[in-house]
Amino acid sequence: MNSALWVSKTGLSAMDKQLNVVANNLANVSTTAFKKDRAVFEDLMYKAVRAPGGLSAQNAELPSGLQLGTGVKVGATQKDFSNGDYNMTDRQLDIAIQGKGFLQVLQPDGTIAYTRDGSLQLNSQGQIVTSGGLVVEPGIQIDRDAVDILISEDGVVSVRKTSDADAQQVGTINIAGFINPTGLNAAGQNLYTETNASGPPLVGVPGTDSLGRIAQGMLEASNVNSIEELVNMITTQRAYEMNSKVIASADGMMSFAIQQL
């Protein structure tokens, strides 16, 4: 059958995936610390019907061959880890990471996941947890009678009690960095998990080793630019329409041939 049909089909499914990515970005335009995705398109291999430089006759070389492209695919989605806007919330347990690092949280299965969502809370035992209820590693216990919780730029958590004038240190928040954050596995719920591509985490004190400082009373917004996504949506839709037009045209050719012959 007409291979243009299959080529355009790859175009349709790639545009469909791109629209999926755009839709997910737009849906998460208000998600705390969400990082937008970008679909990476690549052209598929070419089918060499006639290799360039082949011979057309004994002494005549063809100056060009016939290589038919076989379409396009979305080879990868790339997370863009550029920082989102920082919003003041003035809530003591809201923290934002100004830099590249991640907070470490303990998952129910005992493994560590990474997040930039710093809208922290206390659970019923007084532990610092994410809004999803996962304990921030290393675990920090806040006493019941604490009045103020202070989190410094370098991650030192201290509390001030009514009985005490001075704040006392109760723990530190460490930050993990990755060589290639794009290689992290996005696990949903604002969590990322380590993969071979991301490399092992480099855990350290906030503010050192370019891990990023902690800012208390702030939250990082999503880094989705809604205008950019809308433009992407329009171009994707048009590209989809044009690919389906090619399918219609190729189909028209086949149906004409079948009717006439």
Partner: protein, 247 residues
Amino acid sequence: MDKALYLAMSGGVQTMNAQTIHANNLANVSTTGFRSDFEQARAMPVYGEHHPSRVYAMTENPGTRFAQGDMIQTGRNLDVAVAGDGFIAVYDEAGQEAYTRAGDLQINAAGQLVTGRGLPVVGTAGPIFLPPSSNINITADGSISIVPQGGAANEVAVLNQIKLVNPDKQNVRKEEDGLLHSRDGQTFAADPNVQLVSGFIEGSNVNAVEEMTHVMNLARRFEMNVKMMDTLRDNADSSARILQRAT
């Protein structure tokens, strides 16, 4: 049998090939750095022990359009686009130097600078490996400067340089992997005049309207070939009828 039927058929088949080329261009309308392919038909006379009256059509893609695509701003440090002429040198799957305009670079787990497809970028001396860093900048001449991890913001170290080439377009050819290769197998020397822009990627240079027009044109051309086959069958029918014995 009338040989013209085969001529018309080959015309139809070659038209379908040509349409595949345009369909592929259109499918890659969003592919970073994609260069669209041309399509042309060549007349191929059949020589032999007879009068060379039969001329078949043969579709081929004689070249690639090197016009610049749209510049898309991403603001990402590792996205680079070539401004004006020139290519970024990468290693293909076989380890040979190949050339591309797709500058959506990233760093893989080994700390190596690779393209969005995962092909290693060629530096001044082989592949480019980067140590952990807090900030990476790629300047206009392809130099990569980093602020090392834990370093102060002014501790900028220039590490390596992306190989940028600007060969004669006659000497580059798109091959089966979709990358551009030199026609004679030689690698090109780095050209200091090629400029990169960081924070941008270059889109595809496919002109969608042009490709659509070609697709429609080819559909009609195919129909003409089919019509020709139909006409030739009518001719064959008529001559068969004439030769039938009248009863």
